[in-house]
């Protein structure tokens, strides 16, 4: 039997979270060492004897045995999780306590606690996301750096600082208290949203890496959905949003490895089961008075999935949803997307007008798709030379070969088309 893709990575998050709950957040490094040890052991044993029937259970059991060794050996020298108190002191209570903390409900709970702990209010958003990816998704520093197209040194610094802040919080975040949970939940949702976005729109040249980020964001969101105090309408809307986008992932890159914008995607390749799950979550999100940006973004994505193509897409509804989004969560990128939708409905000239109206458009100056949108509208207006200049500017900001090929094709189209402009 072959281990499934990224099995170790995924188990790593579960194991580190579970062990940290026992050892205490200040012993995070110890938990990571024990996990490392379990993986090395798996490597040695499995390569000779094959992968066991239930590899996850094998790894967890190995981690548990190591944890017991550590607790017995170091209980006088170290302090462990304060909430376990004297449970670890006597052999009579130690084994049953550890056994319980390695049960399925506790493992689930441990991951939630870790997720909320990663979103410590003293940490900037990008540190929260990096920490989640590192601890809960088992990405090494290099892999996090690869995913964010950042340097090893920068990410290492970000993660080690974040770990220090987290370790200073004395104990893992308690997810059983409704009050505390609802205070920190928006930060957790935001971090998951950013993680998903990094996968969907991110700069990493590896589409496999980006798909993995989307999957991880969805896996962690599912943990929230399984814990009723965290399964709020906003969480459901976030989940719906992820589903609608994830459903399109298979069509986003064509057989030649080229980026396909929404307008040109083969919609038969969209995953209908994931869309159906998104619809279910969107329905469930429509309770309560709260309307979040996730609700609106999910609704926009839903309008796209409901259409057969660009022609029968309800662009009017999309524009008004973008208006709502601008009211809740204004940003130049949202305004740009609104302009693109307007152009679909009212023509490229209107699109150009809307783009010129964007507030703080300087923040889009290095975003390749800002220049690409300008190029596209000029192109559709027949001004091919102006369009070409915009696409050439876009080319200087592309973040990976796939984006480069996409823009180059548009530049090519400007040459082929009529020489007006």
């Amino acid at each position: 039997m072959e281990p499934t893709d990224h099995l170790f990575r995924r188990e790593s998050g579960r194991m580190v979270a579970t062990l940290t709950r026992i050892f205490g957040i200040h012993n995070l490094a110890l938990a990571e060492d024990v996990v490392q040890d379990a993986f090395c052991r798996a490597l040695e044993v499995w390569k000779f004897h094959g992968v066991p029937e239930n590899p996850s259970a094998w790894l967890m059991a190995t981690a548990k045995n190591r944890a017991l060794d550590v607790l017995r050996r170091e209980r006088t020298a170290r302090t462990f999780a304060p909430e376990l108190g004297r449970m670890l002191d006597s052999e009579w209570t130690l084994a049953p306590a550890v056994e319980e903390l390695f049960g399925a409900p506790a493992i689930h709970d441990g991951q939630l606690r870790m997720m909320f702990s990663c979103c410590h209010p003293r940490l900037p958003e990008e540190a929260q996301v990096a920490l989640m990816l590192h601890i809960l998704c088992g990405f090494s520093v290099d892999e996090v750096a690869g995913a964010f197209v950042s340097s090893h040194a920068a990410i290492e610094k970000r993660i080690s600082r974040a770990k220090k802040v987290m370790a200073g919080s004395k104990r893992l975040f308690d997810v059983s208290g409704q009050g505390d949970l609802s205070v920190r939940l928006p930060a957790v949702q935001r971090a998951l949203y950013l993680l998903f976005n990094e996968g969907y729109h991110g700069a990493s040249p590896e589409s496999a890496v980006r798909a993995e980020l989307c999957r991880e964001a969805m896996r962690l969101t599912a943990l929230l959905l399984d814990h009723s105090p965290a399964a709020t309408p906003a969480t459901r809307a976030l989940s719906a949003l992820m589903c609608f986008h994830a459903a399109r992932l298979p069509a986003r890159v064509d057989a030649a490895g080229d980026l396909r914008p929404l307008f040109e995607q083969d919609r038969s390749r969209w995953d209908v089961r994931v869309i159906a799950e998104g619809q279910r979550q969107l329905d469930l999100s429509a309770t309560g008075p709260e309307l979040t940006e996730y609700h609106v973004e999910a609704a926009i994505a839903w309008v796209h999935t409901a259409a057969h193509g660009v022609e029968d897409t309800n662009w009017g509804m999309i524009v008004s949803l973008y208006d709502q989004l601008m009211a809740i969560h204004p940003s130049p990128v949202v305004a740009l997307n609104r302009a693109i939708a307007t152009a679909q409905r009212e023509g490229p000239q209107r699109g150009l007008e809307e783009i010129r109206k964007i507030a703080h458009s300087d923040r889009l100056a290095s975003y390749p798709f800002y220049h690409a949108a300008l190029g596209e509208f000029e192109f559709r207006s027949g001004r091919h030379e102006v369009a070409r200049q915009h696409f050439l500017t876009a080319l200087t900001f592309v973040r990976n070969p796939m984006e480069r090929r996409f823009i180059e094709q548009r530049i090519g189209a400007c040459k082929v088309g009529s020489p007006v402009g």
């Binding site: 281990p3 170790f8 990575r9 790593s12 040695e44 499995w46 390569k47 094959g50 892999e143």
Partner: protein, 113 residues
């Protein structure tokens, strides 16, 4: 056909979960290929890196490790090959070589020489 023992020495398996898993998948693929080509007499066993050393007439017992980390034998395999040259050739596919480890190739002595 002659028999050889491969002793796997040292080798840092990498730190990240993904790397360790990749390393394992390479090992499994390598063993599979050796087996399919009829070279595996006994796939062997992994060895713990700790243990005891019992030495001399005094029978003094000491704790492992017995060697530098890079020299510790982590496992063995019994291989069938035409000759030493072929066994060496086979050992070159071992994934331990990618992580600074070594394969010691030792012919098993024959009974009837």
């Amino acid at each position: 056909m002659s028999e050889f023992v491969f002793l796997y020495r040292g080798g840092e398996s990498g730190r990240s979960p993904e790397r360790i898993q990749q390393s394992m998948q390479k090992w499994m693929a390598w063993f599979k290929e050796l087996g399919q080509n009829g070279h595996v007499k006994d796939q062997g066993q992994p060895l713990e890196r700790t243990g005891k050393l019992v030495k001399g007439k005094q029978k003094t017992v000491t704790d492992g490790p017995f060697a530098e980390a890079k020299d510790i034998v982590g496992g063995y395999t019994l291989i069938e090959a035409r000759d030493l040259a072929q066994a060496v050739e086979l050992s070159k596919g071992c994934p331990i070589l990618d992580v600074d480890g070594a394969v010691e190739v030792r012919p098993v002595m024959k009974l009837n020489m």
